[in-house]
């Protein structure tokens, strides 16, 4: 479980407004093999791109939680080192999504308290849930209901941005959808798309910290420009009018 141990050195001396992101990752047995390999690769590319970008390096704050046979804090906030990420492995039983999410919310809350204590400005946190299945295990459904309730309340108050992401065909999209009240449908990807998914998350975090993109825009996945496209003749005709 998350500990509320506030250590000033974990926050660095940057004055930048922070964007806390907690990844909550499914490591149940079905993720074994290629999916978990792709997940590790995508995550490590994501971290590398965050570190390579001047704007995101000290502004983006990352923690990673896994849920499989147990819920584990693989990387707490403020602990990104130069040695890279610990490798994430898939285990063989259970999918305690609800417990994973509840732990993530605790971590995020503790981090926010830490920011407040230090006087650090922050953006509202992101919860990135990636799963390929449905809640499984003792009390899994009850905990999932608690997690959905907590997420919905925070999201409604604009205190949390949720990326609910389903991988493959065995996802219980009905229950995953309920995790967010703002996203029309969960983001659905195949494990082969992890690269693109993490690229999207990286560029979205960069848009938030470097140009103040609104949280609402994070729920819009369209990459097409808004407005009416016109060809060059119409463009100049309009300019002359």
């Amino acid at each position: 479980m998350a500990e509320n141990n506030i250590n000033a050195s974990d926050f660095g001396s940057s004055t930048k407004r922070r964007l806390p992101i907690c990844f909550c990752l499914d490591t149940s047995g079905s993720m074994m093999g290629n999916p978990i390999k792709q997940l590790n690769q995508g995550l490590s590319n994501f971290i590398a791109s965050i570190k390579a970008n001047d704007d995101t390096r000290s502004a983006t704050d990352i923690a990673i939680i896994t849920f499989g046979s147990s819920v584990d804090i693989v990387m707490p906030f403020g602990k990104i080192g130069n040695e890279g990420l610990p490798e994430i492995n898939a285990s063989t039983t259970m999918t305690p999504i609800g417990e994973g999410i509840l732990t993530a919310l605790e971590l995020l809350n503790a981090r926010k308290e830490g920011y407040k204590e230090q006087g650090i400005k922050y953006y509202q946190p992101w919860l990135v849930v990636i799963t390929d299945g449905a809640p499984q295990g003792p009390n899994a459904m009850a905990n999932m209901e608690l997690a959905i309730k907590a997420c919905n309340e925070l999201e409604k108050e604009d205190k949390l941005v949720i990326f609910n992401i389903g991988v493959g065909n065995s996802v219980d999209f009905d229950i995953l959808k309920r995790v967010s009240i703002k996203r029309e449908e969960p983001i659905s990807v195949s494990s082969g798309d992890f690269g693109k998914l993490f690229e999207f998350l990286g560029s979205s975090s960069s848009s938030v910290v470097s140009s103040g993109m609104s949280d609402d825009a994070l729920y819009n996945m369209s990459t097409e420009p808004e407005g009416e496209s016109v060809d060059v003749d119409d463009f100049f005709k309009f300019m002359e009018e």
């Binding site: 660095g12 001396s13 004055t15 001047d54 704007d55 006087g119 960069s206 140009s211 496209s229």
Partner: protein, 563 residues
């Protein structure tokens, strides 16, 4: 003679816009002839000298004649004691005071900071106002009300709200040759950066880089603004101002701009580690010099009716404390073409929630962003509303004006840790008062007033007037040192490139040493007139650093990640 009308007055209150606009022209010569032959008293405000510094420090050919004009102005009026400086920089206060001058008229250009301030503040002024149009034609108004009634405010261009965007099947990249609107061919050499709006390339012209937009980014507003900007002809090394429009196969694709270099200010002014790693041994004077340089640039833009709009530390590059570059100039508000972007952190909360493309920002809107800039630089990147144990969101802190610093020093429990309380403690009283009144009291100061206060702070640091050595440290009473030094400039005390004519000139040299004299506009005793007791500095600060070839490849952060 066009200016004969000024012979009707005994005193003239001269705004700097007159010198900037008409210096070097026949109108100006005629003005000086009349003033000296008729022995008219001339009054100027404290901003007169400061605005002139803002102009000459940009070393822009567009305003080159201002230097000579100011020299002539001073040399002809000072010996006869015809020039009087009033130590006031706030527009309302100055004009109220000038209302007391018997038989006086205000003389100003039709476009400029004073005209905008008069429209926004509607100050009291009882005398006549002589407004000169661009062609030198003069119109006399009888008081502020008459002026406001007979002239109209610019309305937003209808193009601003268009949702159209240019969609053409052209993509250009490294190696492609693009053409300027005057037919000059430019080859894209090397990609420097890429962002959400487009990409920046070096070109075969070492003085400029090219910004090429992505699909969907060229809107009528954007292109119209670039056309206007290019026509304005601003050409100053510290302003990455659009120089030429670019076309590829006759289709608009982007523009060239003056090359900038260094690192984004937000990544250097980002707490003690970032600051000292980028500028090892950074002093308080370096910080204040940086701030003065920035303020001069923004005030210079204001003189041309430009409102930066999206002021934030990301929109400037720093190479050294007196070598800065304003970037992302294609988003600024020019005339009736609005700046469509802005951040909650730097924008006056009164404007929050508005569509920035839907209205024209005013100078008074920019004053808040300027105050934000002043605080952020003096506090090495910190936001004024970064508060310990404060509200849930920054938005709430700003709305509730939870500024954690006090004038009484009673409580500093809400000031973020890291030595920021000591920065506050060592600031001059007037700056503390201004920051406190702005962020706690919701008052506002004109950009020029900030510049006046910060310049005085810089002079005090340069002249080493503080006894306590801690006052000169970037972080007083703290012992920060660089943890992972990677200086932006190769050497602190040598110019940035080796092939410069004089290697002995430091880019970090305090500006007071570059200026032959620091004029003091001291109030005379027992009189309501104020006499200038030395000449105005008309030197042109084109430093070694600014006059060299800028294409050293150290270009970063030219983009904003935003449409």
């Amino acid at each position: 003679m066009a200016l004969d009308v000024i012979k009707n007055y005994k005193s003239l209150i001269v705004d700097y816009s007159f010198i900037r606009k008409f210096g070097g022209t026949r109108v100006f010569t005629e003005f000086l002839d009349i003033v000296t032959s008729e022995r008219l008293d001339v009054y100027v405000s404290k901003t007169f000298k400061l605005m002139h510094y803002c102009v000459i420090h940009q070393a822009d050919d567009k305003t080159a004649s201002a230097t000579t004009a100011m020299r002539d102005f001073c040399s002809m009026l000072l010996p006869d004691k015809l020039l009087h400086s009033v130590q006031v920089s706030d527009t309302t206060e100055f004009l109220a005071k000038m209302s007391l001058v018997p038989d006086g008229a205000l003389i100003m250009a039709s476009k400029g900071i004073l005209m905008s301030r008069i429209r926004e503040k509607k100050p009291v002024f009882l005398g006549d106002i002589c407004v000169l149009e661009d062609d030198g034609e003069i119109t006399v108004y009888h008081g502020i009300e008459d002026l406001l009634a007979k002239t109209s405010e610019e309305e937003i261009s209808p193009i601003a709200m268009s949702d159209k965007y240019l969609d053409a099947p052209v993509y250009c990249n490294v190696g492609d040759t693009v053409t300027t609107d005057s037919g000059v061919k430019i080859t894209l050499d090397k990609r420097l950066s890429a962002g959400a709006e487009g990409m920046v390339f070096t070109t075969d012209n070492p003085k400029v880089v090219a910004k090429i937009y992505h699909k969907g980014i060229i809107t009528p507003l954007r292109w119209k603004k670039l056309q206007t900007q290019v026509k304005m002809g601003i050409n100053s090394i510290g302003l990455c101002w659009p120089q030429d429009l670019l076309f590829f196969r006759n289709i608009p694709v982007g523009y060239t701009m003056i090359v900038g270099r260094g690192k984004t200010l937000s990544n250097v002014f980002d707490g003690p580690d970032a600051l000292l790693n980028n500028i090892p041994e950074c002093t308080r004077l370096d910080i204040v010099t940086t701030l003065c340089d920035l303020l001069e640039k923004y005030i210079y833009l204001h003189m041309f009716g430009i409102i930066a709009g999206d002021i934030q530390l990301k929109n400037a590059l720093i190479y050294s404390p007196n070598s800065l570059y304003l970037i992302d100039m294609d988003s600024v508000q020019v005339g009736n073409l609005p700046c469509p972007v802005g951040t909650e952190e730097f924008t006056d909360p009164r404007l929050w929630g508005k569509n920035f493309a839907g209205f024209l920002r005013k100078l008074e809107d920019e004053d808040y962003s300027i105050a934000m800039l002043v605080f952020s630089i003096l506090f090495c990147g910190l936001h004024p509303f970064a508060t310990r144990n404060g509200a849930e969101t920054l938005r709430e802190e700003i709305i509730e004006k939870n500024f954690p610093y006090s004038l009484s020093d009673i409580s500093d429990e809400h000031i973020p840790k890291g030595g920021y309380d000591h920065i506050w403690e060592y600031l001059p009283d007037d700056i503390r008062m201004m920051l406190y009144k702005t962020f706690r009291g919701g008052e506002s100061y004109e950009a020029i007033e900030w510049y006046a206060a910060v310049s005085a702070y810089k002079d005090a640091l340069s002249a080493r007037t503080y006894e306590d050595e801690e006052a000169y440290k970037a972080f007083p009473k703290m012992n920060y040192t660089a943890t992972d030094p990677h200086p932006i400039a190769k050497s602190r005390f040598t110019p940035p490139t080796a092939n410069k004519p004089s290697d002995s000139v430091s880019p970090f040299k305090p500006v007071t040493e570059q200026k032959p004299s620091t004029p003091t506009f001291a109030p005379a005793q027992n009189t309501n007139k104020y006499y200038i007791d030395t000449t105005i500095d008309t030197s042109n600060k084109k430093t070694e650093d600014q006059s060299e070839n800028k294409n050293d490849g150290g270009l970063l952060g030219l983009f904003k990640n935003r449409r």
